[in-house]
Symmetry: C2
Subunit: 124 residues, 2 copies
Amino acid sequence: MPSFHRHVFVCINERAPDHPKGCCKSRGGVEVRDRLKSELTARGLSKLVRANNAGCLDQCEQGVTVVVYPEQVWYGHVTVDDIAEIVDKHLIGGEVVTRLLLPDQPHLGERTAFGALEIGTSAR
Amino acid sequence: MPSFHRHVFVCINERAPDHPKGCCKSRGGVEVRDRLKSELTARGLSKLVRANNAGCLDQCEQGVTVVVYPEQVWYGHVTVDDIAEIVDKHLIGGEVVTRLLLPDQPHLGERTAFGALEIGTSAR
């Protein structure tokens, strides 16, 4: 059953060290993805929220980029220290972590909250 | 501006050749992704629809897996020969390619159509 409640993609694209755009891998993308996976596992949520690495999300100037679907919320400059907050506030609680939002997301309108995760006792 | 109208992820996860689950890479995931990117580019849509590779989408028994967001439509057993139809019918036209749908997608309900892509002359 592929309908995870939320699906999170972390850019881990790698470019040559001298590439002018840099890349998410050199900025810590792999560590961010690993922390995200481990925080989800620690909370027993890996069946409800899927974390995946992704190729270049085309936001290279924004540090490590993370996008949360289905609400399509884009975060930039994400570090491992931000992951617990993203998990607890957004992925579980449904509230956007506004301090990490990338600019120019007109599809969100003024919306900063989505549904909280429905966690049954059996799911954890 | 990160709000692509549609965002498509193709699993290209690779496992050891003797792994019992197999993997999307050995089943043609990379070729599927490349065809998707080239078909989008050929139609001038790369700014509106983003195609990305992804890590394991956890549907390993379903052949090459593709998921389309924000509608969260999952396709399985996708080959390069399916890509033109996915692009024209779904990514542009908004209609789900029902013959490729993975089973058990309760979040879709009975829905098989989403909005068609709004393509201005300037976008192409």
